[in-house]
C-alpha cells in the first residue's frame, strides 16, 4: 500500500540523478582507494604527503574563501538594494547583477583578460589619466584573479540573499525603532538573523563553486597557478593517474561539504537566539 502516490513523481528525477551523478561519484570514490594490488590509501598519501599538492589545496581554499568573502561583502548590500528598489530601478539593478550570468564563463574570463592586459583598457585609462607612467602588470596577478572570480560568482551570492530579504516584513525594523533600537542594533538583532538563511545558501553556493573553479583561474593566471580542479584535470587527462585525481576529487568534495554543513549549523545556532 502506498500512502502518497504523488511521491512516485520524484522517481524519474531521482533515478536520473542516481544514474548520472551518484553512480559516477561512488565509482570515483571507489577508485581513489582501489589500486592494482587491492585496497590502498596510496592516492591520499601521495596527495597529502606532497608539499606541492598541499600548496595547491591551500591555494584553492584561500581563493575560495577570498572569493566567498568578497562576494558576500559586495552581494549582501546589493541584495538589499535590489529588494528595496522600486519599479524601473529594480529592473535596471536586476539586469546589472544577473545579465553577466547569461554570458558564458569563458567569454567573461576572456573579457577580464582584455581589460587587464598590459595594453588593456584599464592600463590605457590609467595612463591617459596620468595616474601611472608605465603600464602596470595586472593580468596574471592574484588581485586580478580575485576580481575576476568575485565577478563570476557574485550573482550566486546575490540571488539567494535577495530571495530571503525580499520576503522580510519592512515593518520589523520600524517596530524595532519604536522600541528604542538604534539602526545598528536593529540590523544586528532583527535584519541580520532573519537574512541568515539567504547568506548560508549564498556562501555554500559560492564556496562550492569557487573551490572547484577551473576556467577563470586558468584564463586569468595561466599554468603557474594551480587549483585543485586543474590538478585533477592533469591527473586524469595527462598523467592518467586515476588514483591521485580521485583522491583530489574526494578532498574537494569534503571541503565543499564541510562548508555547506558548517554554514547550516551556524545558522541554526545564530537563528535560535
Amino acid at each position: 500500500m502506498k500512502r502518497d502516490p504523488l511521491g512516485l513523481l520524484a522517481l524519474p528525477g531521482v533515478g536520473y540523478l542516481a544514474l548520472v551523478f551518484l553512480a559516477p561519484l561512488l565509482l570515483l570514490l571507489w577508485s581513489s582507494v582501489r589500486g592494482p594490488e587491492g585496497w590502498t590509501l596510496d592516492g591520499y598519501v601521495r596527495l597529502l604527503g606532497d608539499p606541492y599538492y598541499r600548496g595547491v589545496i591551500a591555494a584553492s581554499l584561500q581563493l575560495a574563501l577570498i572569493t566567498t568573502g568578497g562576494a558576500l561583502l559586495l552581494g549582501y548590500p546589493a541584495a538589499f538594494a535590489l529588494a528595496r528598489a522600486r519599479g524601473g530601478w529594480q529592473v535596471v539593478l536586476f539586469a546589472l547583477i544577473f545579465l553577466p550570468l547569461t554570458v558564458s564563463i569563458i567569454v567573461k574570463s576572456f573579457g577580464w583578460g582584455i581589460v587587464l592586459r598590459r595594453d588593456g583598457i584599464l592600463n590605457w585609462a590609467l595612463l591617459n589619466l596620468g595616474l601611472i607612467e608605465r603600464p602596470v602588470r595586472m593580468i596574471f596577478t592574484e588581485g586580478a584573479l580575485y576580481a575576476g572570480m568575485i565577478n563570476v560568482f557574485l550573482p550566486f551570492m546575490v540571488l539567494p540573499i535577495f530571495a530571503v530579504v525580499r520576503m522580510l516584513d519592512p515593518r520589523l525594523p520600524d517596530a524595532a525603532a519604536t522600541l528604542g533600537a538604534s539602526p545598528w542594533f536593529s540590523f544586528r538583532r532583527v535584519t541580520l538573523p532573519l537574512s541568515l538563511p539567504g547568506v548560508v545558501a549564498g556562501v555554500s553556493l559560492v564556496f562550492s563553486l569557487s573551490v572547484a573553479a577551473y576556467v577563470t583561474p586558468s584564463l586569468l593566471m595561466g599554468d603557474r597557478y594551480m587549483t585543485m580542479s586543474m590538478v585533477m584535470a592533469k591527473a586524469f587527462l595527462n598523467l592518467r593517474d586515476w588514483q591521485l585525481g580521485a583522491a583530489m576529487a574526494a578532498v574537494l568534495l569534503a571541503m565543499a561539504l564541510a562548508v555547506v554543513v558548517g554554514a547550516a549549523a551556524l545558522q541554526r545556532r545564530l537563528g535560535g537566539r
Binding site: 516584513d169 517596530a175 519604536t178 522600541l179 528604542g180 538583532r189 532573519l194 537566539r273
Partner: protein, 356 residues
C-alpha cells in the same frame, strides 16, 4: 490647555504631488484615548507614522508632554506602536519579543527580567513566555505586541488598526479588554481605524479625518448625534437623509421641502437654499398620529433586514443623495417590502446640512 499631552500643530506632509496631511492640528489630553477615523487614504496612518517618527513632517510640529519631538528619529522618541498585524519578531520567543526594547535601550538583564515578567502577567501570557511567536493565535499575538510596546514605558501608545487581523467575535472581546488594560496602565493612546464601530467602542474622543484634515473631533455621542458635516454623518453610523429646498426660515428653525414631504429642523438657512435633512435610524417611529414636535413623512419600504436586537427598513428612494434607513426595535405585523409606512421623528433630532 496645559493638560495636553500630545500636541500636533500645523502638520503637513506630501508624497510627490499628493497632499496627505494638510495643515492638521490635534491636541490630546493625558490619559485620553483618541481614535483617528477615516477611509483609507485620508492620512490617518501617515499621521500615526509621523508621530512615531517613522516619517518626517514637511511642516508643523509634534510635541509630547511639552517637548518638541519633531526632529528626533523614531528610536529616540519613546513613542510605542502596536502595528497592524503586530510586526512581531518571528525569530524570537514571546519573552524575547517583549524584552527586545529593554535590551535595545541597554537595560540590564537583572532589571529587565522582572519587567518582562510583569508585562507577561499584564497581558495574561505568562505561560507562553518561551513559545515562538509564530505559534500564537491572532489574539495572543496582539497581546504580545501590546506588552512589547508597553514594557519600555512609552510616553504615548499608537495603535494602527490593532483589531483588523482578528475575526469579529474576538475583535469585540479584545476591544473591551484592551481598552480596560490601557486604562489600568494610565497611558495616552491613539487608535487608527477605518471601522466606526470600533472607534465608538474604544475612544474617549474621535477625530474623523478627511483628505488630510480633521473634519470633526468630538466624543462619540456628540459625533453621532451632532455630526459637523454630511461627511461625518455618513461615515459614523447610518441615517435617513433627504435632499430638499428651504421654503421658510425663522426662530432658529427651517422648513424644508423634500421628496417625501415637508420637514422642519433646527438650523439657519436662507429660503431657497439647497440642503440635506437627516435623522438617525433609531429616532424614527412608525406612527400616523404622533405626539407634537415631530416631523411626519410617508414612504414605501423596499427591503427589510432583521438584525436580531433590531430590524432595519430600507426605504424606496431613487439613487442619488437620498438615503433611507430606519431602525425599529421590533417589526410591526404586516410590514414588508412594498408596504407604505408613516414615518415620525422629533424635530429636535432632525439635522440639516448644506447640500454637497
Amino acid at each position: 490647555m496645559n493638560d495636553q499631552h500630545l500636541a500636533v500643530r500645523g502638520a503637513s506632509k506630501r508624497f510627490g504631488t499628493a497632499s496627505v496631511l494638510d495643515d492638521l492640528s490635534l491636541a490630546v489630553a493625558r490619559g485620553e484615548f483618541v481614535s483617528l477615523l477615516g477611509p483609507s487614504g485620508c492620512g490617518k496612518t501617515t499621521l500615526l507614522r509621523c508621530i512615531a517618527g517613522l516619517l518626517r513632517l514637511d511642516a508643523g510640529s509634534i510635541a509630547v508632554a511639552g517637548r518638541d519631538i519633531s526632529a528626533l528619529p523614531a528610536h529616540r522618541r519613546n513613542v510605542g506602536v502596536v502595528f497592524q498585524n503586530y510586526a512581531l519578531f518571528p525569530h524570537l520567543t514571546v519573552a524575547q519579543n517583549i524584552g527586545f526594547g529593554l535590551r535595545a535601550q541597554g537595560v540590564r538583564a537583572a532589571e529587565a527580567a522582572p519587567r518582562i515578567a510583569e508585562a507577561l502577567a499584564l497581558v495574561r501570557m505568562a505561560e507562553f513566555a518561551d513559545r515562538p511567536v509564530t505559534a500564537l493565535s491572532g489574539g495572543q499575538q496582539q497581546r504580545v505586541a501590546v506588552a512589547r510596546a508597553l514594557v519600555v514605558r512609552p510616553t504615548l501608545l499608537l495603535l494602527d488598526e490593532p483589531f483588523s487581523a482578528l475575526d469579529r467575535k474576538l475583535r469585540e472581546t479584545m476591544q473591551v479588554e484592551l481598552k480596560h488594560l490601557l486604562r489600568e496602565v494610565g497611558i495616552t493612546a491613539i487608535f487608527v481605524t477605518h471601522d466606526q464601530e470600533e472607534a465608538l467602542v474604544v475612544s474617549d474622543r474621535i477625530a474623523v479625518m478627511n483628505a488630510g484634515r480633521i473634519e470633526q473631533l468630538a466624543d462619540p455621542a456628540t459625533l453621532y448625534q451632532r455630526p459637523a458635516s454630511l461627511y461625518v454623518l455618513d461615515f459614523v453610523g447610518q441615517s435617513m437623509r433627504l435632499g430638499g429646498t428651504v421654503s421658510a426660515a425663522g426662530l432658529g428653525e427651517v422648513t424644508v421641502e423634500t421628496r417625501l414631504g415637508t420637514v422642519r429642523a433646527p438650523g439657519a438657512f436662507a429660503p431657497g437654499s439647497r440642503v440635506v435633512v437627516a435623522v438617525r435610524p433609531e429616532a424614527v417611529t412608525l406612527t400616523e398620529t404622533p405626539p407634537g414636535g415631530r416631523n411626519t413623512l410617508a414612504a414605501r419600504v423596499s427591503e427589510v433586514s432583521f438584525l436580531g436586537s433590531r430590524t432595519q427598513l430600507h426605504l424606496d428612494l431613487p439613487a442619488g443623495e437620498d438615503r433611507g434607513v430606519v431602525e425599529l426595535p421590533r417589526l410591526p405585523p404586516g410590514i414588508g417590502p412594498g408596504s407604505a409606512v408613516p414615518l415620525a421623528f422629533p424635530i429636535a433630532d432632525t439635522m440639516v446640512f448644506p447640500a454637497a
